[in-house]
């Protein structure tokens, strides 16, 4: 690796120049990323749909009508009906609020905890590192199911008592899903830190007298975010699906709230007779994941000073 110049140091030095402003520059680059822009639109449409959709498409989500069960898409029910004759479009729109909120919130918890733990362990090393990695290992090896049952048992009622049933369940779900998914992020960030803190540009910054915090915030952390962004997108999908598993433990939202994961699970046994039931929630999850990924790619390229293209 001889002969390589600390390119990043110069690049970040360049970024400090005020010219068009780093944010403006990033936005300009982001706009040129066509896929990312398209995805941002798709994501916007999805969010808007679940936010205002239920006001436009006012079919009730829980009107049971046995004469209309398992119907395919029609004008009356654009996405068909489920086995109780309930309108699937209304259910997907309604459930999407929860699924998206849980997905984003749980992902944020997982990434935040993971990055903090990973960064501290990676920078500090030694005893702090050992203690934090012990914690990570502990969380990795805890069996989820008994722990979940214990959490429900210990905290559900008290939390529900404090912040009300819906918010209480939401907070609990987000904390649990986030709490079970931060460990890979922590390990990834720590490994990146190990490698990056010995790199030339960090050495250079250190030699120039940068403080520890500045070194981390400006030089190491941004360069270790590649895997974190990937983990974030995977975690959103995982959280949306995990929410539905939780409701089978009696921890999630009540069974009549049609979150996307729940719809997919309910639909699976009818997959060969009523595929529409599963296809639309599946598509919704897929589109969310897809668009978030491309937006993530676009962001990375926009903020990455070394981009090749």
């Amino acid at each position: 690796m001889a002969g390589s110049t600390p390119a990043s140091a110069t690049a970040s030095a360049a970024a400090e120049r005020p010219q068009p402003g780093p944010w403006g520059e990033a936005w300009r680059r982001f706009r040129k990323h066509r896929l990312a822009m398209a995805s941002l639109c798709v994501l916007g449409v999805l969010v808007l749909a679940v936010l205002i959709g239920p006001f436009i498409w006012t079919a009730p989500i829980d009107e049971i009508d046995f004469s209309k069960r398992l119907q395919g898409p029609s004008w009356e029910h654009p996405l068909g009906t489920d086995d109780l004759g309930q309108d699937l479009l209304a259910r997907i729109l309604y459930g999407g609020r929860i699924s998206l909120a849980v997905g984003f919130a749980a992902m944020s918890v997982a990434i935040l905890v993971g990055v903090i733990v990973g960064a501290i362990a990676g920078m500090a090393g030694g005893r702090v590192d050992a203690a934090l990695m012990w914690l990570t290992d502990l969380f990795l090896s805890l069996p989820e199911l008994p722990l979940l049952l214990l959490i429900i048992y210990l905290f559900r009622d008290s939390l529900v008592g404090v912040v009300g049933p819906e918010m209480g369940v939401f907070i609990l779900i987000v904390l649990i899903i986030g709490g079970f998914r931060w460990m890979p992020v922590a390990r990834l960030v720590r490994a990146q830190f190990f490698s990056l803190r010995e790199k030339e540009f960090v050495e250079a910054a250190r030699a120039l007298g940068a403080t520890r915090t500045r070194m981390v915030m400006v030089h190491i952390l941004p360069n270790s975010l590649g895997p974190v962004l990937v983990a974030a997108t995977i975690d959103i999908a995982a959280a949306i699906i995990a929410e539905s598993t939780l409701s089978f433990l009696g921890l999630g939202f009540p069974p009549d709230i049609p979150t996307w994961g729940r719809l997919l699970f309910d639909a699976k046994d009818n997959l060969d007779f009523a595929p529409h039931w599963a296809i639309f929630p599946g598509l919704a999850i897929f589109l969310t994941v897809l668009s978030i990924n491309f937006v993530g790619d676009g962001l990375r390229d926009a903020f990455d000073p070394r981009r090749v293209k």
Binding site: D62, E63, I64, F66, R69, D83, L84, L149, Y153, D157, S247, F248, L249, G250, P254, P255, D256, D266, D269, N270, D272, F273
Partner: protein
């Protein structure tokens, strides 16, 4: 009515009335045909050899492999340690009781030479003893002879507290005496009308004394035979992986002619019910799939493939709703739903009646359970002689509204009815299970139309059905206004079933919530006639008592029966299984065969 019946039965016995004539006449009294024939059978007025078990046609063996699929896997093979149906079934492949329960609720001899009756001298007229004659020439799989010693030992083993047998309840309050090598007498402390418990069916399988005698104590779990069963059954042990697969092969020395038909039996466990149904009905990879708790519509579509069929065997299991008689929201000495309290809303009979009118059993049955859940107005449905003709079911939102209006429950804020500060807002809990959640939604919607708000709560089954004293979410604690689950009837006799409503069984902290009366309903008449039925030797009178008990509890509307839960299974078109709702799936595996 009882007098008329007795008179009619007497005439049948004397020959002055034909059995068909009898059925016709009792039909006029409101009794069904199966109920009538059963009455004749239990009073000894009908030939015992009724067609309770289908004829066995094969004249040869060598029928190839039989593959059975369970979506739960068995974990142990000692029938007296068995917890749960799966384990009882897998050990039953090898072990046999003296008699089993046929699906019409009559006994079928297995290791017994004949079923004891008053006529053959097996039953004492005072109800204090029963004498079993054992089949001769039966050999254990290891070649030893089966005899009365094994029967006596089985009772001693099961009731030994150090063994920790799960069947021990069937051997309390009785004494087992060896009369000779092939005769055993069971003596009861009190007159016992229901004598067919010890040595019968699941709890009654006989184990070999020569292999278990050294393990009749705290070392019971070390017995090698726990994992390598040696029984008298039609198939003998080959291999066992707990939680996965059990394999058996034909027993060449089986004690019934031309049996068994199959060369090998494989029972595979695990997975889920829907894919188990697929493996039989769609791909025909397996011959038989056990207990398909699947929405009937899916089963019907799978059946359309034409490879297999769905078997439905009616028993006594029932899915029902309980309306808490006590107040779940008031704590008395650290105990909620305490028997010292009364439910603020359900103490009004009008509210209970309205709730019963709001349960659309027909739709629940038709659209959710299908053939797997016929709607019923009764709690006690089977055997047919115990079924009450007096109860009705109705779904009528308008009438429910009318009743509530008349009782003074006026619609208040948000359209929810209230009276004297009590709002009709109920927490309705059940276990996590797709059909139950669907049923909850249907009931909630109907209740909404009558101004009753229902909050749905679901608890994961492993917690809901646990007996954990520390957990507030168990069904025995019943810290909710309403709950729904299936209660199982394990014997073709209602005594152990109808004790769910006697006052001394009320579930409370004092008995660590182990009482069977979970709805906490109390009724002096019920208690009295239950005691009476316990000692009543006359079968007709006894049936009338149980019917009265059913009418009392159902009439109170503290429980709302929804659907019966018959056993639903799938088998290939050419398989001829012999099934029973009162006994294990494989209770007569020796008589299973394949056509063509």
């Amino acid at each position: 009515m009882e007098e008329t019946l007795r008179d009619l039965i007497g005439r049948v016995k004397r020959g002055s009335l034909s059995r068909r004539g009898f059925v016709k006449r009792v039909a006029a009294l409101g009794l069904t045909a199966p109920m009538a024939t059963q009455l004749l059978a239990v009073t000894g007025a009908a030939p015992a050899a009724a067609q309770s078990v289908p004829a066995y046609a094969p004249t040869r063996r060598g029928g190839g492999a039989l593959r059975i699929l369970y979506w739960q896997a068995s974990t142990l093979l000692n029938p007296h340690f068995a917890v749960g149906t799966t384990n009882q079934d897998s050990s039953r492949v090898f072990y046999e009781p003296l008699a089993g329960w046929a699906t019409d609720g009559t006994l079928h001899p297995v290791l017994a030479a004949e079923i004891p009756s008053v006529e053959n001298g097996g039953l004492s007229p005072d109800g204090r003893s029963v004498t079993w004659k054992l089949k001769r020439g039966v050999k254990w799989h290891d070649g030893q002879d089966f005899s009365a010693d094994d029967v006596v030992f089985t009772a001693a083993y099961s009731r030994n507290p150090q063994v920790g047998a799960t069947t021990s309840g069937s051997y309390q309050g009785l004494n087992v005496v060896k009369v000779d090598d092939y005769t055993v007498r069971v003596e009861f402390e009190r007159p016992t009308p229901f004598w067919a418990d010890a040595f019968v069916a699941t709890a009654g399988v006989i184990i070999p004394r020569h292999l278990f005698a050294n393990f009749n104590g705290p070392n019971s779990r070390d017995a090698p035979t726990n994992l390598r069963p040696v029984g008298t059954g039609a198939y003998r042990f080959v291999s066992f992986a707990p939680g996965d697969t059990l394999r058996a092969e034909a027993n060449p020395n089986y004690h019934k002619p031309n049996r068994p038909f199959f060369d090998t039996v494989e029972i595979k466990g695990g997975g889920d019910a829907v894919s188990a149904a697929r493996a039989v009905l769609q791909t025909a990879d397996f011959d038989y799939a056990w207990n398909l708790q699947v929405e009937d519509e899916i089963l019907q579509r799978l059946e359309a493939a034409g490879r297999g069929k769905v078997n439905i065997v009616e028993g006594g299991n029932i899915e029902f709703i309980q309306l808490n008689a006590t107040d779940p929201n008031v704590e008395v000495n650290g105990e909620r739903s305490s028997i010292t309290t009364q439910h603020p809303a359900f103490r009004d009979p009008a509210v209970r009646q309205a709730m019963a009118l709001l349960v659309d059993r027909e739709s629940i049955s038709r659209f959710i359970y299908g053939r797997g859940g016929p709607a019923t107005p009764n709690f006690l449905n089977n055997p047919p002689r115990f079924r009450s003709p007096n109860m009705r079911m109705e779904f009528n939102v308008a009438r429910a509204n009318e009743i509530l209006d008349r009782a003074g429950w006026a619609r208040g804020q948000g359209g929810i009815r209230q009276k004297d500060g009590v709002r009709l807002r109920f927490v309705f809990q059940t276990s996590v299970n797709a059909p139950r959640q669907r049923t909850q939604q249907i009931i909630r919607q109907a209740a909404q139309r009558a101004g009753i708000e229902i909050e749905l709560k679901t608890v994961t089954a492993s917690v809901f059905f646990s007996s954990d004293v520390a957990n507030p979410d168990t069904f025995t604690k019943f810290y909710a206004d309403m709950q729904m689950y299936t209660t199982t009837m394990t014997q073709a006799d209602p005594q152990r079933f109808m004790n769910q409503y006697v006052s001394w069984e009320i579930s409370s902290r004092a008995n660590s919530w182990q009482g069977r009366n979970i709805v906490r309903w109390r009724n002096e008449e019920y208690d009295r006639i239950f005691r009476e039925a316990e000692g009543e030797l006359d079968p007709v009178k006894r049936a009338a008592l149980f019917i009265r008990m059913n009418d009392l509890i159902v009439g109170s509307n503290h429980i709302i029966p929804i659907v019966q839960r018959p056993l639903v299974s799938a088998s290939l078109n050419n398989l001829r299984p012999v099934l029973s709702a009162w006994d294990s799936t494989v209770w007569l595996l020796s008589d299973w065969w394949r056509e063509g």
